[in-house]
Symmetry: C2
Subunit: 155 residues, 2 copies
């Protein structure tokens, strides 16, 4: 299991993205939120993946296989109403930290979120975000990709 | 949608199978019976498939993709407790009709079922099975593969 210490923020204004890496990401769920198993299709640029997350709360098994674009397209229509599509920009802040900025497309536009990862919780708590970051939504579950896939942008 | 007119029987005693085609079939469900979507993994000899059946009663969307053995093996462990494994013998009866005889393996052994397909319902009703066929279980839902995958052989 990987544990990530991250903080997530709204974006007050877009930074200069000319130095950032851009990826087009779309993901959709074949299963409904209440189903016992989660099956997710994901495209990142020209790579495609199918990921299964098992039921259970303490330990959730995760299995992932790379799939072909044809396999992806076969099942993608069944994710209608349960999708997140976004451009992900990965760049570096002046303090050297890496940020991941998601510019949502489709039903979730024009939402934008930015995440920064930390080594320790103390580091995360002490962090002062740059001025282009907006409100801290780290603890707001409504901003989870999986939740937004079915519930849309929080009101 | 394909409509099949079939009758399904237990097997009183195995016929001579020397002229029959044999296939090894295993299938398992990634989703639980109450989930909104059904995702099934299936191996037939050296071919592997992932099949999705959408929710809904009147019309159920079905989408299938051939997958690699590696993709199959990645997800197969998650079908534990929801599997059917069998040898399928396809042969011809003296009257020219094709039969499909399933010899179940694993948890469902030593169950055996045989199916015959018909062009019309009248033909199906009038059919007199050969003496190696056992009880007619066509209408008994407990003998559906999907049901047996989780509930086992009917008591």
């Amino acid at each position: 299991m990987s544990t990530e210490i991250e903080r997530k923020f709204l974006v007050a204004k877009l930074p200069d993205l000319s130095g950032a890496d851009k990826a087009v990401v779309r993901q959709g769920y074949l299963t409904a939120p209440d189903d016992s198993t989660e099956l997710r299709l994901r495209q990142k640029n020209d790579k495609f993946f199918l990921t299964l997350k098992g039921g259970g709360t303490m330990v959730r098994v995760e299995r992932e296989a790379e799939i072909s674009s044809e396999q992806f397209e076969t099942f993608w229509p069944e994710t209608a109403g349960r999708r997140v599509e976004k451009e992900r920009y990965t760049g570096q802040l002046p303090d050297g930290r890496v940020y991941e900025l998601d510019v949502f497309l489709g039903d979730l536009a024009p939402l934008r979120l930015v995440e920064v990862e930390f080594q320790t919780e103390a580091e995360a708590s002490a962090y002062t975000p740059p001025d282009w970051f907006g409100a801290d939504v780290t603890a707001d579950k409504r901003y989870k990709n999986k939740t937004m896939a079915t519930s849309g942008v929080p009101a």
